[in-house]
Amino acid sequence: MAVTAPTVPALPSARVRGRAAARATSRHHPLVELADELAESTGRALRALAPSAVLRLEEEIEERLARVPLRKNEYGYDPWGFHPAVARRILLLTSLFYRYYFRVELAGVERLPAGRVLVVANHGGQIALDAAMIATGVFLEGEPPRILRGMGEYWLPRVPWINIVMVRSGSVVGTPKNCLDLLHRDEAVIVFPEGVRGMNKPYWQAYRLQRFGLGFMRLALATRTPIVPVAVVGSEEQAPGIANLRSVARLLGMPAFPLTLTWPWLGPLGLVPFPVKYRITFGEPMEFSGDAHAEDEAIEKLVRQVKRRIRTMLDRMLEKRKTILSIFF
């Protein structure tokens, strides 16, 4: 952007003068410029070391990001804090997981309609990698590529750095108002109506759908948004849960504190998920109409239809996993 250097008047304090002088030469403070240069050269050095597969993937992400319809301001941020330059790095990481670690098998992504849409999926696996894999799939394999907007747990904005990653990659705190605003702006939003109930259940309840919240259906009715049911298989085996220590979670102010086969016994290493095979299937869009403010019973009837669809898709996908090996291959 073209900015003319401001004339510097006689200013009262040395502090302000230093700052005005910095502005007169460039818009940024010399220290900020130095930090930028350092970051850039580090990036270049890292790129020189990266394998060619990673570079190709990066190019692919770049090309797809350019095709995502976004409403950016002068600094490249969309109204919810999404930023392509930051998202690019996050997407590179999730895409590496998508292609080479979980080797995701995606089906039916072409069923995702253009315009506003609510993606509703089953939840599992202790950390929301299922959300990341669905979103990466829609970005890498959907036409045109889209950014799925996640509805984050209320706890996430309190976590240092995680809150930044969440917002820069297109997600927001899962308040009804945020979801309404996003749908009104024709965005694609992903929700997990099971929430923590689904994500942090022990392994013997794997793929057993927990109680669905009703909020997503009210929002869909209020905004006349089609719902696309999605079934995910693989997430439950990435970190099989043993128990969820609710009291510890409450003490730490976290939504859940799961014990898994590896966490916390192996320390930070225990956070690494098993390299399971992810299978994700998108169902046909479902359209609902009715009163968004109806009694719970009426809403529940509609929610049950969505739940049943996901249930059916899950069963069909699970049948195909004949042996224990097919969890990984």
Partner: protein, 311 residues
């Protein structure tokens, strides 16, 4: 509308509003601080909102509208005095308005009344609860002023009360908390947090106040500028260096420095650079057609340039 009274007319925003109204309507102002050379025809009464002379002035002058900008927003005075001027002052303004047939009162509130909380939606609308005293009790008078004005709005259907809640105001003359913060060369931030923040130029705020009068608005309105950027971008673009510090270090340091009067605000303010407090401004735009004339780069480039505009 023929005669408009502006409280706090000598402040940066008061002057901007006065200059805009000057010539179109008769402008008179009150302020404890002087405005040495106001434009010809603007009458300034150096008086205190809490004194009886203020009532006398309204009784004799009978303004059609009051723009209420006379607030203490800094922390250089005792909290009790700040509370008294802001809350009691607003109560007086509104009571006299009812008593002496003023048709419209614009009460200048703030986006801060919503509070900066982790679970805040982006784009809080006017119905969102006023949560600021939960985390930042030092400025609960802001929320009290806002609620007082809202109460008058419902209690007196004939009085056109406008509660205006602007986002962070930047500009060469307005001395908002956020501008004091961004004017530092090394700007302390919370390590691991970088919330989206909305900014609006002071001249656009003055325009909005005039629009509110012109359209004879009534109700509560968020006032949003050209858009939002993360805090660190705002710091860089205004020529500063963000210095991220661990939260407990930051809070402790600020608490101490504030007690020694070396820092302009208490540590409750930290929440506003940690969590988002961004507003939905569609209601005001729908009613008035308001469009900010200053873009974000414009707001940042013009910020603080004329520190001598006061002289």
């Amino acid at each position: 509308m023929r005669r408009v009274l502006i409280t706090g007319i000598s402040g940066g925003l008061g002057r901007l509003v006065a200059r805009r109204l000057h010539g179109r309507v008769e402008v008179l102002g009150v302020d404890r601080a002087p405005w040495r050379r106001p434009p010809k025809g603007i009458r300034i009464h150096p008086l205190d909102l809490r004194k009886k002379k203020f009532e006398d002035l309204i009784r004799t002058e009978r303004p059609d509208a009051i723009v209420h900008l006379g607030f203490v927003r800094h922390f250089r005075t005792e909290p009790a005095l700040r509370h008294e001027v802001n809350v009691l002052g607003t109560r007086r303004v509104l009571e006299y308005a009812v008593e002496y047939g003023v048709r419209q009162v614009v009460v200048f509130s703030s986006s801060y009344v919503y509070g900066a909380l982790p679970e805040n939606s982006y784009y809080l609308d006017e119905d969102a609860p006023l949560n600021v005293s939960r985390t930042y009790p030092e400025v609960r008078d802001l929320a009290e002023v806002d609620m007082l004005a809202t109460a008058f709005l419902w209690r007196h259907p004939d009085l056109g009360v406008v509660v205006l809640r602007p986002v962070n105001i930047l500009g060469p003359t307005v001395r908002s908390a956020i501008s004091q913060y961004l004017r530092m060369e090394y700007v302390p931030t919370v390590l691991g947090f970088n919330p989206m923040m909305q900014f609006v130029h002071e001249e656009d705020v003055a325009d909005a106040i005039v629009l509110a009068l012109e359209h004879e608005l009534r109700g509560i309105f968020n006032l949003v500028g050209p858009g939002a950027v993360p805090l660190h971008v705002a710091i860089r673009e205004t020529g500063g260096v963000p210095v991220p510090l661990p939260e407990f270090v930051l809070r402790r340091t600020i608490r101490r420095l504030f007690r020694w009067r070396l820092f302009p605000f208490p540590d409750g303010a930290v929440d506003f650079v940690k969590y988002p407090c961004t507003l939905d401004g569609r209601r005001f735009v729908a009613e008035t057609g308001f469009r900010p004339r200053h873009s974000l780069p414009d707001v940042f480039a013009k910020f603080g340039r004329g520190d001598d505009a006061w002289r």
